[in-house]
């Protein structure tokens, strides 16, 4: 991957984090899912700024790659990405979780904003993605389908119904990224429901499984470049709350209020680090 492209993704990620913090701060006492949004920033940035076929001038372009944020609570990263590519007006980000907003705490289907599906009830996104993948094959279209699933989300039985069916239908146009930040709502995966050996589990279901650092642009690039006749899955090792010292690996920031003090501290840190 060319150096300038890497920088482009990094810059996109920097903007995403800034806007995620801003939305979280604007949400005030409504609170927001900060930790799980920050852990997918590089993945979402890579997808929206480099990997996915998107027509910025035609939001519903039929041949666009499809994206599903199955871990819908991480929508801050999704909204920020859609704003970055111009599908959501940046001013609209300020309406996050406000009365009658288009941007609630979980994505709500809105074709005008580029949000193709309402998600947030965990374990449902992958099945929809399989429907999209089959549809692409039937229509003889070559668009790809990308889905981000949480590691805690793997607790849901429906994930495994879907996991079993994608290889059955030989869906080589489907790509899943598991955000393995090792936490879920009330504790670590280990404490709540052990999701160890996810890699072996998915492999045994017939997926082409890779592992990578979910914050490393080159590692992400290498994964997405790989071709396989099987559906592809990345176990992206990530850090919950990534990018801000006080929220990294601190599950208090799973869903929390970002006060003015913390917001300013975080922003400061971010700017210093990026420069």
């Amino acid at each position: 991957m060319e150096k300038d492209k890497v920088e482009l993704v990094k810059n996109f990620a920097f903007n995403l984090r800034k806007n995620i913090l801003k939305m979280a701060f604007e949400a005030g006492s409504s609170s927001s899912h900060l930790g799980g949004a920050l852990s997918i920033v590089e993945i979402v940035s890579f997808l929206f700024s480099y990997q996915m076929k998107i027509d910025k001038k035609n939001i519903s372009w039929e041949d666009r790659d499809r994206f599903i944020l199955s871990k819908g609570h991480a929508c801050l990263a999704y909204y920020a990405a859609l704003a970055e590519i111009g599908f959501i007006d940046k001013n609209e980000l300020n309406t996050f979780e406000k009365d009658d907003s288009n941007l609630l705490g979980h994505p709500v289907l809105n074709k005008k904003l580029g949000i193709d599906f309402s998600t947030g009830s965990l374990g449902m996104g992958l099945s929809i993605a399989i429907g999209l993948s089959i549809a692409a094959k039937k229509k003889k279209k070559d668009f790809k389908i990308y889905v981000i699933v949480g590691d805690g989300e793997n607790n849901e039985g429906s994930v495994w119904e879907a996991a079993m069916s994608a290889p059955n239908f030989k869906l080589d146009n489907l790509c899943v990224i598991i955000d393995k930040n090792n936490f879920q709502q009330t504790g670590t995966n280990k404490e709540i429901m052990n999701t160890e050996s996810l890699s072996e589990k998915w492999k045994s279901f017939g997926w082409e499984v890779s592992e990578a650092n979910g914050h490393d642009i080159i590692e992400l690039f290498n994964f997405f470049e790989k071709k396989s006749p099987k559906p592809k899955l990345l176990i992206a090792n990530t850090v919950k709350g990534k990018g801000i010292s006080f929220s990294e690996n601190n599950n208090d920031w799973h869903h929390a209020v970002l006060t003015k003090n913390f917001y300013e501290k975080a922003l400061n840190e971010l700017e210093t680090k990026y420069k």
């Binding site: 429907g131 999209l132 039937k138």
Partner: protein, 320 residues
């Protein structure tokens, strides 16, 4: 579909389930955009010929109903017409939240067909019988619910549901040898009930396999000089409230259904009726919020007061 005496008799003999397969095949032959999804029930749904004739339009998801609704949603989102089918409890309740989010909240156009709902599978117990599906789905905004009165109406309902611009549930009831309510072609419109008999004393509303028993009961009642209006409320949601208003001059309204009396057609009628200043008393016939022991279809219909004779008995009690 050629609607003639011979076919109507044949469809009646094979019942609503097997008729579904024939109807789906006919629709799919002319609509290459239609895909049928099942959960390992091709033979139960009369879809074996469909599977062999149009494999490109048929997808078996295995025994995984949550995935069924998800995959149907993805296909619908890409503008395919989608029919999903499996036995009614699994079609509606195993995947209820997927139905809520994908078909209700997001309004994806999927036509779900619940097989052998009501008491038809009574010998298999209440894991397979289904007396809750209407109640469960009626509480999800935006989903049309249809329960066809016979095999011909099953064909008509499926055709209309595939053309409908929104999610729909078709509830199939009864066994093979499904009694004929309609012996010739007629006009079927979603949301518009059909008056099968005009009377002035008792107004009977029913749907699905209960329609034929309601007609038989009305004949027995007429022998006792009680005249009945019988209405086939094939669409339970949206409810044809006009049809209810029209019979408010009757002495008694009766709702008859192979469903729990909580949440079904009777509930829907009474919800509307309670908004009126004046309306007749309502008799709820159906399963009275119990499971109890299983058994053969006719045994269960009798036990739950749904045979023509039991309907008559209950109506008489409530008229005096």
């Amino acid at each position: 579909m050629i609607i003639n005496d011979r076919n109507i008799k044949m469809w009646s003999t094979i019942g609503q389930r097997a008729t579904l397969g024939i109807a789906a095949l006919e629709i799919a032959k002319n609509n290459k955009n239609l895909i049928v999804l099942t959960c390992d029930v091709s033979t139960s749904a009369g879809l074996d010929r469909f599977r062999k004739t149009l494999p490109e339009q048929y997808i078996d998801l295995g025994i995984a109903e949550q995935n069924l609704i998800g995959v149907a949603t993805g296909l619908s989102s890409e503008k395919f017409d989608v029919i999903t089918t499996t036995f009614a409890p699994f079609q509606t309740m195993r995947c209820c939240e997927q139905i809520k989010v994908n078909l209700g909240y997001m309004s994806h156009k999927v036509c779900m067909v619940g097989l052998a709902s009501g008491l038809a599978l009574g010998t298999l117990g209440f894991t397979h019988s289904c007396i809750e599906d209407i109640g469960v789905l009626r509480s999800i905004p935006g989903i049309t619910i249809i329960s066809p009165a016979d095999s011909l109406e099953t064909i008509k309902a499926l055709d209309a549901a595939v053309k409908l611009n929104g999610p729909c549930y078709i509830r199939l009831t009864g066994t093979s040898n499904n009694p004929i309510v309609y012996d010739k072609d007629y006009n079927f419109e979603i949301g518009k009930s059909i008056k099968l008999r005009e009377g002035s004393d008792v107004a009977i509303f029913s749907s699905g396999s209960s329609v034929n028993n309601s007609l038989k009961a009305s004949e027995l009642l007429s022998e006792k000089n009680i005249s009945c209006t019988v209405i086939n409320m094939h669409t339970i949601k949206p409810l044809d409230t006009k049809a209810i208003l029209e019979v408010c001059n009757h002495k008694l309204i009766v709702s008859i259904e192979e469903h729990n009396i909580i949440g079904g057609l009777g509930s829907a009628i009474s919800e509307f009726k309670s908004t009126l200043e004046k309306s007749p008393k309502q008799l709820f016939l159906g399963i009275k919020d119990v499971y109890g022991k299983g058994g053969t279809y006719n045994h269960l219909l009798n036990k739950h007061g749904l045979t023509p004779e039991k309907i008559v008995e209950n109506v008489l009690k409530n008229l005096s």
